[in-house]
């Protein structure tokens, strides 16, 4: 029977890379040593000159794949529609940039692209011949705050269904399945001036099985009286819109999209000492996916790094290792 496989997005180790604690070689070896089967890379993050990478860079990447045996699963691609300050790129300029990205990932031996959220639907049809030529699938990221209810995402999904090509799909980020607001975010943001009352209010929403994003949508983006009461300062008012990136969908929202799902980001804010992630029920989701025959990768994407308190170690390696171990345990129990 087909099986769900593990993967690590190198996004998870960005602080180690930025501050030169680890080079790409160290990171790839770390990922392998912790038992992942695949690797996800952001070319713009760890490959110099992307998307115009040199032959040496390609050779180095392939040598690392050979050495580690890691499967190069997916590349995270961005579309710089705001490349210039004074105008937005034209459609043809956008397509040309994305064709370059397709050609780049093909050189890297990768056959799947994660298109960042908000990439417009009209790129799909012009890219299809290139996807077929280079055997590269494009998949839009469904990310909290930019998920199924957003016009841009809806338009992409509608076009994806219309063209119905094996080269077009979606990537799900599990930040849409938060059951609790991440406490590492609360701890970090309260230190920098957000009032605890704001988070207390958001916690009541999660306890009711909803989230701030959906409450604001239902209220036509007017703040409910309880939220107004929680806001203590202008800083709070500025910060509230940033709290809608944690959604509380049921897993069943994926039912109609299962045929199009190419990949998962298993978002990670905090692995707890008890073994699970603080906000998300990975085991429940893996059971759901197993029951529906999903056999792609679930990729560790650590984002707690940016909420590390001053004076504390950015625990990227520890958090990635803990999540991989927990997912492996869940998969062993579920898949045998």
């Amino acid at each position: 029977m087909a099986k769900i496989k593990t993967c690590v997005s190198l996004y998870s180790l960005q602080d180690a890379y930025l501050n030169k604690r680890m080079q790409l070689d160290d990171i790839m070896r770390f990922v392998k040593a912790n038992g992942a089967e695949g690797v996800e890379i952001l070319p713009d993050q760890m490959l110099k000159g992307a998307p115009d990478i040199s032959e040496e860079t390609v050779a180095h990447w392939k040598q690392l794949l050979d050495e580690t045996g890691l499967k190069p699963v997916i590349a995270d691609v961005f579309l710089n529609t705001n490349l210039y300050k004074n105008r937005t790129l034209t459609h043809r300029e956008c397509i040309a940039l994305l064709v370059k990205e397709i050609q780049q990932v093909a050189r890297l031996g990768i056959h799947l692209i994660r298109l960042v959220s908000m990439v417009p639907y009209w790129v799909i049809e012009p890219l299809l011949p290139y996807c077929a030529q280079y055997d590269v699938t494009i998949a839009l990221e469904i990310h909290a705050a930019m998920a199924f209810d957003i016009p841009e995402t809806k338009a992409f999904i509608e076009e994806m269904k219309r063209v119905n090509s094996p080269y077009v799909g979606i990537v799900i980020d599990t930040g849409i399945f938060c059951r609790r607001f991440p406490r590492v975010v609360r701890a970090y943001e309260t230190l920098f001036g957000t009032s605890p009352q704001v988070f207390d209010y958001i916690d009541t929403l999660f306890a009711r099985g909803t989230d701030l994003h959906h409450v604001l949508v239902e209220n036509g983006h007017v703040y409910p009286p309880e939220l107004e009461a929680a806001i203590q300062s202008e800083h709070d008012r500025m910060f509230v819109p940033l709290c809608d990136g944690y959604e509380n969908y049921r897993f069943e929202v994926l039912d109609e999209y299962m045929p199009y799902i190419k990949h998962f980001h298993f978002k990670l804010f905090e692995m707890t000492p008890e073994g699970q992630e603080y906000s998300m029920d990975y085991k429940g989701l893996l059971e759901y996916l197993h029951d529906r025959g999903y056999d792609g990768y679930v990729s560790t994407e650590y984002e707690g790094n940016r909420f590390t308190l001053p004076g504390h170690k950015v625990a990227e390696e520890e958090q990635v290792a803990a999540q991989l171990a927990y997912i492996r345990k869940c998969l062993d129990e579920i898949q045998g």
Partner: protein
């Protein structure tokens, strides 16, 4: 966001050219989690001892070879500010920073692919010029 990336420690020094101090230089990492062309730098602001440096006195470079004014950088798409590599920022001011201690504040903002507002990072450091 990304404040921690801004203004690399111990990077602020006076710059000498042909025996004259033409200004001072500082370095910063990017306020984003990936590299971008220089045209996507929304703005750079420098404050020395509380005083804003005029934009026309600022030059930026990713390689210390080719330098751009902020206006010029708006169209620079062939030089990329890589993730994990510094942007060099020069303030042209004859004599540079005087000997002693100064408060230098750096503000860096980049445009991102999907977030409607630029990502700004700020850091002030105490700088000692020997």
């Amino acid at each position: 966001m990304f404040d921690n990336n801004v203004f690399i420690e111990n990077s602020c020094v006076n710059v000498e050219q042909d025996g004259n101090v033409i200004g001072y230089e500082l370095q910063t990492n990017i306020t984003y989690y990936r590299g971008i062309p220089m045209s996507m730098i929304e703005y750079i602001r420098v404050f020395a001892d509380g005083k804003a440096v005029p934009q026309e006195n600022i030059r930026i470079s990713v390689d210390r070879e080719d330098w751009f004014t902020m206006r010029e950088a708006e169209t620079v798409t062939t030089y990329k500010w890589e993730y994990g590599e510094p942007l060099y920022i020069r303030v042209l001011e004859a004599g540079g920073l005087s000997k002693g201690t100064h408060r230098v504040k750096l503000v860096v903002a980049t445009r991102t692919a999907y977030i409607p507002v630029p990502l700004e990072g700020v850091r002030e450091r105490e700088v000692t010029i020997a």
